[in-house]
Each structure stands twice: as structure tokens, then as C-alpha cells.
């Protein structure tokens, strides 16, 4: 019986992915580093501000890791939370671990910290890119209940590699945000199947918005992370230009599509409903040749 990544807390994910007893936490809850802005608003705080950071090993490689806790304010990024992420990434530039692993589960900017939260997300984006430019591989895993949205959806795509599960969701504006702004005709946030066809792991994999899709188990995520570390990174102008070409092709090819199903049909899935098949290995095999090109 393998453990579900989706069902696990941030701390359980770290324990489930890293080698036993290898995790060493930085700024643990005992240091009681809480958000001053939530205190101003008289809102409850968390002693780790919703993110756990530290170092550990995976497949005998030393890595740095950060795990967002969706259970605290939906994993949203405030001043302290963001600074912990930036600290891990800047430390990686200095100490050169085999990779930085970011287990993201977040709605993006913590609106209670409005301006400070937005700047914090921007600092995380720049720190990810600075780490990559310095030669550090940054791997993102997304497979939690809250998905990865807002500015952190942009930050995720700044990483070297993204690993998702079918249950994972990745985007910029969440369905509720668009429905509130533009009405239910534009985006019905309660239509869960349609939301899944828009931001779910399988659609993101077919579009090549994520690099790897795995079943919802700690072992599968671990295998993909180890492979991601071995693959390393390609931070180069040539890679960026290939990405540009592929993103331009995507708009041309799918720009008029109204639904995920239209895109999958265009990708050669005779029966778009078939992508809901339960076995991940079967899905990956079927997606071979029926998936947008990846850089």
C-alpha cells in the first residue's frame, strides 16, 4: 500500500520523499516565526508561516527542499513564507545541492498581506531564475488539494522541471476568481469536470505545461524527482527560443479551442473521454505521439 501524496500534509510529504531521518529543518516551528501582518488583522498565525524548509537526501543526493502547507491559508505566500522560500533558493546558489525541490500547494499571493505578498512572490520568481542561471536545478512537484495558482503558478513555470499528478492543478487565475470577475458563463467554477479539463494534471501534461505526470503516490513522485535531478537543467537562450516557438505554435493551433476536449482531439485523441482512464502508465503510453512537443 503506497501513500497518497494528495492526502498528505507538507511534513508527511517531506518524510515520504526523503531518505529516512535525512531531513534537517531550517527555522522550525520552535523558532515561532509568524506573520506580523496576520497579527495586525487579528488572524491566527502558524509558527512556520505555512512552509517547511530544510535539507535532506534523496537517492543518496543532497538536496534542499521546501514544502507549502495547504492546510494553512491555502498555502498562500506572505512576507515570512516568501522569505523562507527565497532563503532556500539563495542558499542553494551558495552551497550547490544536487537540486532544490519545491513541493508547491498554494493559491498564490496571501491577500491578507496584499502588497507584501505580491512582492514576496516576485522575489520567489527571481530567486528561482537566479538559482537556475547559477546552474542549480529547481524541481517543482504539484499534487495537493489546493493546486498551484496565482503568481505561484507563474513561479512554478520558472523552474527546470514540473512534476504533476492527475489530481494536481496548475494555472494563474483560479476558476472562482474568473467566475467572480466575468460571470458563470465565462467560467463555471462548480463544473468540476470542466475545471479539471482546464487546469488538471492530464491536460497540463498533454499541453506540455508540465514535464512529467505520475500517479498519486509518494513512490511515484520520488522516482520522478530522482529522474528530474539526473536530467538536470537547460538554462540557455537556445532553450528559451525553442520554448518561444512552441508557445507560439500552441496559440496558433489551439487558440480557438473552447474546451480541453477540443485540444485533445486536435492532438489526435479519437476519443477525448479516454484520457480519464484510471491507470497512469496506460495514459502516458497512450499520450505518446498525442501530446504537444516539450522543450
Amino acid at each position: 500500500m503506497t501513500h497518497s501524496y494528495y492526502e498528505s500534509s507538507a511534513r508527511a510529504r517531506i518524510a515520504g520523499l526523503l531518505e529516512p531521518d535525512s531531513f534537517h529543518e531550517w527555522l522550525p516551528a520552535a523558532e515561532r516565526l509568524t506573520s506580523p501582518h496576520l497579527a495586525t488583522l487579528e488572524q491566527p498565525a502558524a509558527f512556520d508561516d505555512g512552509v517547511i524548509i530544510g535539507r535532506g537526501s534523496i537517492a543518496a543526493k543532497q538536496i534542499f527542499i521546501a514544502a507549502q502547507e495547504g492546510g494553512f491559508m491555502g498555502g498562500a505566500v506572505g512576507e515570512v513564507h516568501g522569505a523562507k522560500l527565497v532563503g532556500v533558493l539563495e542558499r542553494a546558489v551558495r552551497d550547490r545541492p544536487a537540486a532544490v525541490l519545491l513541493l508547491l500547494e498554494t493559491g498564490g499571493v496571501r491577500l491578507q498581506e496584499a502588497n507584501a505578498g505580491l512582492i514576496a512572490v516576485s522575489e520567489v520568481m527571481r530567486a528561482i531564475l537566479a538559482a537556475r542561471a547559477a546552474g542549480v536545478t529547481v524541481i517543482v512537484a504539484i499534487g495537493g488539494q489546493y493546486g498551484c495558482f496565482g503568481g505561484m503558478g507563474i513561479a512554478a513555470r520558472c523552474a527546470s522541471t514540473i512534476i504533476m499528478s492527475e489530481e494536481g492543478r496548475l494555472g494563474l487565475s483560479g476558476p472562482e476568481v474568473i467566475e467572480t470577475a466575468r460571470g458563470v458563463e465565462e467560467y463555471d467554477a462548480r463544473d468540476r469536470a470542466m475545471v479539471w479539463r482546464t487546469v488538471g494534471g492530464k491536460h497540463r501534461y498533454l499541453l506540455a505545461e508540465c514535464d512529467v505526470i505520475v500517479a498519486d503516490s509518494m513512490d511515484e513522485f520520488r522516482h520522478a524527482i530522482v529522474a528530474g535531478i539526473d536530467n538536470g537543467d537547460d538554462w540557455s537562450l537556445a532553450a528559451l527560443e525553442r520554448e518561444h516557438q512552441l508557445l507560439a505554435e500552441r496559440v496558433q493551433r489551439f487558440g480557438a479551442c473552447k474546451d480541453g476536449r477540443d485540444i485533445w482531439r486536435e492532438l489526435g485523441w479519437a476519443d477525448p473521454e479516454a484520457i480519464a482512464m484510471p491507470d497512469n502508465d496506460e495514459f502516458v503510453a497512450a499520450a505518446h505521439g498525442h501530446r504537444a512537443k516539450n522543450i
Partner: protein, 233 residues
């Protein structure tokens, strides 16, 4: 302010900048410098096409004009809130733009941004906030979201939020608040071309915003928290 007027003030020694749709593109002369100008106008939302067009402009500068400074003129009401853009992966397009800006920085292009009208969340993250020097006109509007929407999400009344905004730069919109938090390097007033020349003299490619926020008293924890992570065992 109209973008044309901004460009004329930034580049009094001549410019060749034009508008296509809501995209602004070209180059201008500012003292000894020739700068690339890339921006948006009409408080536009940034969707996949516009993000891609800005990225193409950045790549073009990297290719054709090595080390030429890039000036982003920011006027956006945020990321485009459409199902279709989300379906196509708007976050990926925004990240692509941010990567292009980072690549330009690494290849020696000084990056300056000026919020001349409006800057909101997602539309601001991928270009303006990626700059080495980020400035705003004093009357520019910068925010994550409006107070009314923020009141809905946080379940704190608008009155209370604007009251809190008087004592803390965190909660209320405004360029001055972003200055205190270190999100802006400076507010530009008076001779804009002199401001731009000064900025180009003082390019620092490391992200110094948490230091500014700490020095200015607006964001007291980001800097020490990063230092503590760096100093941990």
C-alpha cells in the same frame, strides 16, 4: 499620462516608438544611451498573445542589440481573466516572459521599468517586477486587487482595511506604499530622462528589494528571515 508623453520625456534626444494594439515597442535616445522600449497601454489585460509579443520583443533585443538597456513601460490591469487563456496555460506564457527578462539580465542588458499608469498583480510580475530598477510616477496606481475585493476575500470591512492602510503600507494600494516595502526603487518626478540616466548608472543585478523594504521600515522581516536561512546549520 499618455505613453507618448512618457517616451518623449524619457528620451528627449529622439525616439522611434510605436503602438500596435496595446503593445508599445521601439527604441529611444537618452543622453549617451540608446534604450529599447517595450510596454503596454490602455490599462490592458495581459493574455497569452500579449505576453508572447513582449517576450518576442525581449528576445529580439537580446539577439540584435547586445547589452542594450531595456525599459519596460507598465500599464496593465492585470492578467487576462478568461477561461480560454487559462486553458492555454497563461501562467506558462507569463513565466516565459519572465525567463526572457532574466536571460536578458544575465547577458548584460540593464533592465528598468516605469509604472506610468497602472500595475496589477499578474500583469506586473512577469515584466515590471523583474527589473533591476523598478520605478513609478507618483500618481501611478499599483495594487494586488481593489479594497472592495480584498474586503470580500479577507472578510475584513473596507473601512477597517483603509484604516489599517494609514498605519501600514501592506494593506492599501498605492505607489508610495510599494516604495516603503521596497517593491519600487524610486518615484520619478521632474526630469524623467535624468531619472532614467541615474537608474542606468546604478544597475544592481541582484534582487535588493528586501534590503530596501527593511531600510525604509515597510517590510521588516523579509530581509532578516533570508539571512537566518543562510546562517542556519
Amino acid at each position: 499620462m499618455e505613453w507618448k508623453s512618457v517616451v518623449e520625456q524619457l528620451c528627449p534626444d529622439g525616439h522611434e516608438v510605436s503602438q500596435a494594439g496595446n503593445l508599445i515597442r521601439g527604441y529611444g535616445r537618452c543622453g549617451p544611451h540608446t534604450v529599447a522600449v517595450i510596454g503596454t497601454t490602455n490599462h490592458t489585460e495581459v493574455g497569452v498573445e500579449l505576453a508572447l509579443a513582449m517576450a518576442a520583443a525581449v528576445i529580439n533585443v537580446i539577439h540584435d542589440y547586445p547589452a542594450r538597456p531595456i525599459v519596460f513601460l507598465v500599464d496593465t490591469s492585470g492578467q487576462r481573466l478568461r477561461h480560454r487563456d487559462e486553458l492555454l496555460g497563461l501562467n506558462g506564457y507569463m513565466a516565459h516572459l519572465a525567463k526572457c527578462v532574466e536571460m536578458a539580465r544575465r547577458r548584460g542588458h540593464p533592465i528598468v521599468s516605469l509604472v506610468y499608469e497602472q500595475a496589477l498583480s499578474g500583469g506586473f510580475l512577469a515584466n515590471g517586477m523583474m527589473a533591476d530598477v523598478c520605478a513609478a510616477l507618483p500618481e501611478a496606481e499599483i495594487r494586488v486587487m481593489g479594497l472592495a475585493a480584498m474586503a470580500r476575500v479577507t472578510r475584513i470591512s473596507e473601512e477597517r482595511l483603509s484604516e489599517l492602510g494609514k498605519s501600514s503600507p501592506v494593506f492599501a494600494p498605492g505607489a508610495k506604499n510599494y516604495l516603503l516595502l521596497g517593491g519600487l526603487d524610486a518615484l520619478w518626478e521632474g526630469d524623467l530622462s535624468a531619472c532614467l540616466m541615474d537608474a542606468l548608472q546604478s544597475i544592481d543585478t541582484t534582487d535588493h528589494r528586501r534590503t530596501l523594504g527593511h531600510e525604509r521600515g515597510g517590510r521588516m522581516l523579509a530581509y532578516p528571515v533570508v539571512q537566518r536561512v543562510l546562517a542556519s546549520a
